[in-house]
């Protein structure tokens, strides 16, 4: 279809989404970007956040954890380490992980980075889960 774009979300474990959509919003490292059909070819780096697929008057929301987005020839590929449907997020578990991370006071640089990463991921996940 002329004004639709094929959207594919892949993780190393499976292909989460593969369908034709009207528009997609992806979280780039420096802010969200909306992509419609016939978008120019591009490769972007993703941050942690929400991918929104708009099709048939509905919006499907996914949480992705970093990775890349590639647009070429009306195919949009989201290549990410982890993709979760908004409804799949276990809020309780994420909240406890966030609490644990915030309560910890790491010493080494490595651990500090891991702590910051966990906090950022958890917050982004909760944000996606909170929206209904």
């Amino acid at each position: 279809m002329a004004n639709e774009i094929q959207c594919v979300v892949v993780t190393p474990e499976n292909t989460t989404v593969d369908q034709s959509v009207e528009s997609v919003v992806v979280p780039l490292v420096d802010g969200e970007a909306g992509i419609y059909a016939n978008h120019a070819s591009m490769i972007g780096r993703l941050g942690c956040g929400e991918v929104r697929l708009n099709f048939g008057g509905k919006t499907e929301r996914l949480f992705v954890d970093g990775g890349f987005v590639q647009v070429d020839d009306n195919v949009l590929s989201v290549i990410t380490g982890r993709a979760l449907q908004a409804a799949q997020i276990d809020v309780g578990q994420v909240e406890s992980a966030l609490k644990d991370a915030e309560a910890s006071s790491p010493e080494s640089k490595e651990e500090k980075l891991a702590r910051a990463r966990t906090i950022m991921q958890s917050k982004a996940m909760l944000k996606v889960a909170a929206k209904k």
């Binding site: 892949v10 993780t11 190393p12 474990e13 499976n14 292909t15 780039l28 490292v29 420096d30 970007a33 120019a40 070819s41 591009m42 490769i43 972007g44 780096r45 970093g66 990775g67 890349f68 590639q70 070429d72 590929s77 290549i79 380490g81 982890r82 490595e110």
Partner: protein
């Protein structure tokens, strides 16, 4: 001639063993299919990463990254050996250990210190038997390695490599070539020799179509490169784990198949011996009776 009853008992126990090996074969077949599906699912990801890498390369960007730089001196080398948690899979673990030990002696000559890490109970036990202690062991990887778990291990290696505490990482695993062929190989994953996923055939087929790259890079090609290199390493390591899992199931399937066949053969052999023994026992009894009758008549 052996006792007919003893032969019959042996035949029964062989029959039981056959049932077990046959079931194990079926289980391995089912698991192999699952593992294979996972490996195929992962290729969707690796192909796309390869494509991004190719696009980056065609955009004329200077490809340089700390993970790609070869160190002049290898002070600390790490050897990661991927074995299975369970046995009864033929020469699977033996082959990897043999390959790994060869590389170990070689690395010990080159590097000042060697850090040996083993995944899988069989490998840990096998090395202990040879009197080698592993510095770090993993047993959490079963036949379905999760990307998150592998990622954790991968990030650990990445941090160690960048901070300079290791200079080289070799991984010994069983590469899956086809259903009938797997081999124990050792690959050097750090420093990365190329940022492709190591499958030259997929990159070759995709390269011609992508000659004219007109990509817009957001935010910048170098920023994407910065992310794509570690990702590429993680995926490579994940692929090693997946290949190992698939190969393990195939090895078990083959081993159990031959065990089942062997048991069938043995049952046949034992049946023949049993029949013979039974026959001679009956003949003996008849002879005794005839002898008794003759004695009475005489």
């Amino acid at each position: 001639m052996a006792n007919a009853r003893a032969l019959d008992n042996r035949r029964k126990s062989v029959r039981n063993i056959k049932k077990i090996t046959r079931t194990m074969e079926l289980i391995a077949t089912a698991r192999f299919k699952q593992a294979m599906d996972r490996a195929t699912a992962a290729t969707g990801y690796t192909d796309r990463i390869t494509q991004v890498v190719n696009d980056l390369a065609t955009s004329g960007l200077e490809v340089s990254h700390p993970l790609l730089e070869k160190r002049d001196q290898t002070k600390t080398a790490t050897l990661l050996v991927l074995t299975s948690n369970r046995g009864l899979c033929g020469g699977y673990n033996g082959n990897i250990l043999r390959a790994a030990l060869d590389r170990k002696t070689q690395l010990e000559g080159e590097a000042e210190t060697l850090d040996l890490q083993v995944s899988g109970k069989r490998g840990i036990a096998g090395l202990k038997f040879r009197g080698i202690e592993a510095a770090k062991t993993f047993t959490q990887f079963e036949d379905k390695p999760a990307f998150d778990d592998v990622c954790e291990v991968a990030n650990h290696f990445l941090d160690a490599f960048i901070s300079g505490s290791i200079d080289r990482l070799d991984v010994a695993y069983t590469r899956f070539i086809s259903v009938s062929k797997q081999e124990a190989v050792i690959e050097t994953l750090l420093p990365l020799d190329s940022i492709g996923t190591g499958e030259s055939d997929t990159s070759n087929t995709q390269a011609p179509a992508k000659k004219e790259s007109v990509y817009e890079f957001v935010p910048s090609p170098s920023s994407i490169l910065e992310e794509v290199v570690p990702t590429s390493f993680r995926v490579k390591l994940f692929k090693c784990f997946l290949d190992s899992a698939v190969s393990e199931q195939i090895a078990r399937m083959v081993a159990m198949k031959s065990a089942t066949e062997n048991a069938s053969e043995m049952i046949k052999q034992l049946s023949m011996e049993y029949n013979r023994a039974r026959q001679s026992q009956i003949t003996g009894e008849i002879m005794e009776i005839i002898g008794g009758v003759e004695a009475l008549e005489g």
